[in-house]
Symmetry: C2
Subunit: 399 residues, 2 copies
């Protein structure tokens, strides 16, 4: 039997999805599972964008342009204008989800062995894309005490080596919900200019900011050659299954390279490009309603979490995640135990263990990520469950 | 300014799409361009599968399972059963186009520097995926005189090195249209068993066989651990824009590795999975009509091509491509000249230069690939154009 590749062996399994069999078993036992583990919003996809697909009138489901339909890219230009980001349609490559934008950035800018610096905790799938691209992720740890603010410039300086080619941030952040300030973005700008680095900016949650306003990396001055924006419609319009994202940069050489990767895979999905195009025309107040909903969920979740003895949950400024510290020995064990061995009034909670978001061994063992993608009532019930669970968990560490 | 990666520089541009600016300029001059250059069928996408998407009733466009919706994978099991291929839904990973199935196979089975043997001419985008995966393509040349039959076993034996991990075939073949016989598949089987190689089989055109019947690599005996099927709905149902394919194998270790790559990118597109699922229920005679249409096109194209003085066009057994030898100095120059400097009754023809399908320098310079994705009348007009063009082309080599 031929053997698989080393990278096939090294490729990390999804830390979020590995608990799925335990959750399925719990459901089979009749236990209701509150899913705070995954970034699949419960918000309905706006009807106008689903209707655009339903009513699209064409006879052949053709390949689109490899960079995406020009009509969609022109619409995206108007979308970005709202944030003071001035682009041409040629500076946008429509991708298959935000995932592909990340892969294009890694492939076009880094060679095997090159390094990208990412503040940890970070979105776990960056690990997988790094294995695919054979590049190396170097992390700088942000602390829960500071609410996961950007680490100090000195920490970056210490981590930069001759192999460092880029810094990657997710803003607002998954998994921490932290919203980087303009001053923090300025620190990144100085670092990138001084050390001639790319700045990869994952802004999937741009619209979901509750404390402060979003400052896009695309708005940093004199950084046109450095910044690559990795974007997606998944969370913005509750359209995760569409698999439509965008790779955006003003660096023409990077664009030309990324286009070759785009051409090899022919085109991004056609149906969802129709949805994405319609989404840009949603009424201006669309996000107000969604934001108000997420804000009330955040406020409730953070309040109830911090009321549980021994729990510390910083107040996240954006996205729909919170990272909390629990009085537990091991978040992987605890999350599995919640599904396997605990129930309260036939209910339990599924969370993402903190360890999956750290590269440094040992970190995140007493942390979990909570996605507030459930309604207020369910969040309250889930918090009650979690409180009861922490009272009886055998691996509880403090009173 | 930070520099792009070496692989970003090495990544080949699409040899098929590089002529697009010249074709656009011709159209602006009022010249009608017959597109025989690209595998975008003109056949209408079956209405029932577009209707399935239009009438799908859901409120949230959610992520699907990373391996694709289970309902779709169960349907695919019944689809493959029609070809005597017995599978479980767990042996199928739904991919984003056939392209992603190729990437998963390269990533899961080969490490940087490993070699895959491919008969040339071959589908040009394999080159791009090889650059992404940092693997090496080694070719064995098939000859136009034999109609591009599988090269002799000895040619493979000579090409195999300690770094060889797989053989890749496309059957029926893009770009040659050649349909590999059962005897040729047996040769590949013996090679893979003897040298412990994977057999990657791209069967995108399975249904389009006009001379002889298709023998799938999945039906080779005792090859369960070796064969990976790379599939797509793009050509089968004229649904190229859906971006839905499949990675299929009975090798559990490979499946487990590929699933990790699938999890990293979360899920394949949801809309097109609905289309793909409906496609399996198309009436049994659906392909008969399509095949009859392609067969009459092939017969006309091959006949008219061989009537042009100095042209040789073997009769392809499947797919919807033909590779022809022309009396020209350089197929890149000729194809560009057709668009830039030639017109006959305000018409011209766009073809794919043969050079893009060969890895060996110098080969394909007097060959072009023709995709018969136009109706009979247009094919006849295109052939008249080509005949007239060859009469006046300054780089014509023989009488």
């Amino acid at each position: 039997m031929p053997t698989i590749s080393l990278r096939g062996q090294l490729m990390p399994p999804s830390p979020i999805r590995k608990l799925v069999p335990f959750s399925e078993a719990a459901k089979k036992r009749g236990v209701h599972v509150y899913h705070l583990n995954i970034g699949q919003p419960d918000i309905e996809t706006p009807k106008p964008i689903l209707d655009a697909v339903r009513h699209a009138d064409f006879k052949i489901l053709e390949y689109s342009h490899s960079a995406g339909n020009e009509s969609y890219r022109r619409k995206l230009v108007t979308y970005y204008e709202r944030f003071g980001i001035s682009l041409t349609p040629q500076q946008i490559i429509v991708t298959t989800g935000g995932s592909e934008a990340i892969v294009f950035a890694f492939m076009a800018c880094l060679d095997p062995g090159d390094e990208v610096i990412i503040p940890e905790p970070f979105y776990a799938n960056y690990n997988g894309f790094a294995v695919e691209a054979e590049i190396s992720i170097k992390t700088i740890t942000s602390s829960i005490e500071s609410g996961f603010a950007l680490p100090a410039m000195e920490a970056f300086e210490k981590a930069i080596t001759p192999k460092t080619k880029a810094i990657l941030i997710c803003n607002p952040n998954n998994p921490t919900g932290y919203l980087y300030s303009k001053a923090e973005m300025e620190v990144l700008r100085q670092l990138c200019l001084k050390h001639n680095l790319f700045l990869f900016s994952d802004e999937a949650y741009r619209e979901f900011c509750y404390s402060g306003t979003h400052f896009s990396a695309m708005n940093l001055e004199n950084m046109e050659e450095h910044v690559i924006l990795m974007d997606t419609i998944s969370k913005r319009y509750s359209a995760c299954g569409g698999r439509i994202g965008a790779f955006v940069t003003k660096n023409q050489v990077v664009l030309d390279a990324a286009m070759k990767f785009a051409q090899a895979r022919l085109s991004p999905p056609s149906f969802a490009q129709i949805a994405g195009e319609a989404a840009v025309d949603l009424p201006g107040d669309y996000f107000n309603g969604i934001k108000a909903e997420y804000l009330s969920r955040r406020d409730l979740l953070v309040k109830l979490m911090n009321e549980i003895p021994g729990v510390f949950c910083p107040n996240p400024g954006g996205a729909f995640y919170a990272m909390a510290r629990l009085p537990i020995d091991d978040s992987d064990k605890f999350c599995q135990w919640m599904l396997e061995s605990f129930e309260y009034e036939q209910q339990t909670v599924m969370m993402a263990p903190g360890t999956g978001f750290y590269a440094t061994a040992g970190l995140g063992k007493n942390e979990v990520r909570l996605a507030y993608v459930l309604n207020l009532k369910d969040i309250a019930s889930a918090m009650t469950c979690l409180k009861k669970a922490l009272e009886v968990y055998p691996g509880r560490t403090t009173a």
